[in-house]
Subunit: 348 residues, 2 copies
């Protein structure tokens, strides 16, 4: 067990972000990890106060940490896209988080909205590309506000960017019992990008003869998530499709309150960043209603990424047990209470 | 009641397309519509035989019909994108099918994969833009096959294109009891296109003061389709997001075998085209396993579009009754048998 302190940058962000991060830090501390946490007040409040989203100097400071824990970013008082692009996506892009790792897993005891579905039917990992595609942000507007306005968005896909995430996905599939990898794209319409993705999968597949590969269009895949989730083991897909199917995945696995994610730089040239899949949920912010479980599970992924496998497993175990308890009915705990209950389990 | 013959172009297409179209034509005939149907053998077979997807002369001929009924297009023997782009999408674009109308409706008696969901919970209409966005097909590849390859896709959105479909969607919402319109987009990432869509909705909303407007990001919307489908009444969205959520919609409403669609040119400057949401399903083609109901419902939409409201309603009624019968267990009818049963109902 590695016993160095973890130098952690914490970005609670907006809305329920602050609430859920507090609980995750409590659990991290209780599991016995030595953490030196530094908080960064990035988000809507700072934007309104100073006009800043992510100053260059802060970006450079963040680079020095072992990892970043992020709550959620976004507030209705800020025009759409500003915090998302200039803060969240800027971090993902600058720190080259090309693997966005999002497990979709139905914990025993969790109610899924799907009828007749058992935990063993929903157990996949979605590997979403995190640094290119339509998220590149290129595009523009001409003749804005006139009847002749044109607005464009561009999806940028590179062999470099696609191959590295595809390779990571194959390795992940190889490590799992079913060894199945499904590419999700829309090759019949997005022919240029789709062709690059499909050729890359075909080529890398030769290095992983034990892995079975499959393909589904994004529209069909969305249907299968609901009708045949057992079809999927490891899914690899682009940035936008991954955004969509991981929210859908969260829904089938019992809700966004449980979905964890890691924005990972596998080459470790910059810190990886862990955050719940959910957003800042301004409608319930400050009311103690948010489920901190997704953030706690994201913290477990963080430990795992830093080689603290035992602690990570302990948190996951505590969460599983806590979720099983929900079966017995006391579902309406506050954010704090859920955090406390999980903290108690990891401490014992 | 209009009693002129309908001049109908029929494109059975590939795979199960031929099978389901045969049944729909049977029902159309039985309901008492005089139809003069001309078949066009477009699709994979013709492509392999002659290299043609959609010759210009055929395109111009098709322009002369009152409507087009299409089965399905696409075959694994043809590289992805060729038939889709050069045949299906070319028809949608050339005939300016800017409204892609896709009801998502849970018929009583149909089993939905969602637990605890009643027919009144799933009753929406998705209005998908059909002529622009990422479907424009612009983009390209540079340094193909090398480690420095770049592949791009461009989403093109125009004020003209967005406004007309948004206006149609508001009118549709206005005509329904709930009068609610939800824009689905990803304004926080696709800021240029998203801004055009959101501004257009805001502006047109002023002309429809009775309609409540709402917004959901595509990722959240995908989640809500599964967790809170009752949230939606009329949905308006772009071409790609519409593709994804209508397949998802088909899944929650009991499967792709029932999902109908109309590619509509509301200005009637060219024929509209009706087709099931499902594809050519080569895996089950020729086996009499396909459910023709989606195509039969698409034929009803076709009649409705041409002002034959009574006949359209009669087919919808027959389908509802046929579906209710499924409850009693005889679910494994062949394509023909389902067609025959619905035909018998509309004839009686
Ligand atoms: C907030 C938003 C920019 C972000 C994304 O689209 O990636 C979120 O939806 C996510 O999935 O992490
Ligand atoms: C076949 C394909 C090009 C088509 C689309 O993407 O529009 C289909 O999925 C649909 O929804 O009609």
């Amino acid at each position: 067990m590695d016993s160095r302190d973890i130098r952690l940058a914490v970005i609670p962000g907006d809305g329920i972000g602050t609430e859920v991060v507090t609980e995750a830090l409590k659990v991290l501390e209780a599991v016995g990890t030595k953490i030196e946490a530094t908080h960064y007040d990035l988000g809507a409040a700072r934007y309104h106060r100073t006009g800043e989203t992510l100053p260059d100097s802060v970006l450079e400071e963040l680079r020095g940490y072992d990892a970043i824990l992020l709550g959620a970013v976004g507030d209705p008082s800020v025009p759409p896209g500003i915090l998302e692009r200039d803060l969240l996506l800027r971090l993902r892009f600058t720190f080259d988080h090309y693997v966005n790792l999002r497990p979709v897993k139905l914990f025993p005891g969790v109610e899924t909205p799907l009828a007749d579905t058992r935990p063993e039917d929903i157990d996949m990992i979605v590997i979403r590309e995190g640094t290119e595609g339509l998220y590149a942000g290129t595009g523009g507007v001409m003749r804005a506000g006139t009847p002749h306005e044109i607005a464009t968005q561009e999806s940028l896909n590179t062999a470099h960017g696609v191959e590295r995430v595809v390779r990571y996905a194959f390795a992940k599939a190889q490590s799992r019992p079913r060894k199945k990898l499904t590419l999700v794209h829309k090759t019949n319409v997005l022919t240029y990008a789709g062709d690059l993705w499909q050729r890359t999968v075909n080529r890398v597949a030769e290095e992983f003869p034990e892995v079975t590969t499959d393909y589904a269009h994004i529209d069909a895949a969305s249907m299968y998530f609901v009708s045949q989730p057992e079809r999927f083991d490891v899914v690899v897909t682009d940035n936008l499709f991954g955004d969509i199917i991981t929210d859908l995945g969260a829904a089938i696995a019992g809700g966004i309150g449980l979905a964890a994610s890691g924005n990972i730089n596998p080459d470790r040239t910059a810190p990886s960043m862990f955050e719940p899949v959910h957003g800042s949920a301004p409608d319930i912010a400050g009311q103690g209603k948010a489920d901190p479980t997704a953030t706690i599970l994201s913290a477990a992924m963080l430990l795992d990424h830093l080689g603290r496998h035992a602690e990570a497993a302990k948190i996951e175990q505590a969460v599983s047990e806590d979720i099983l308890e929900r079966l017995s009915g006391w579902a309406s705990r506050t954010t704090h209470e859920i955090g406390d209950d999980i903290t108690a389990r990891v401490s014992s």
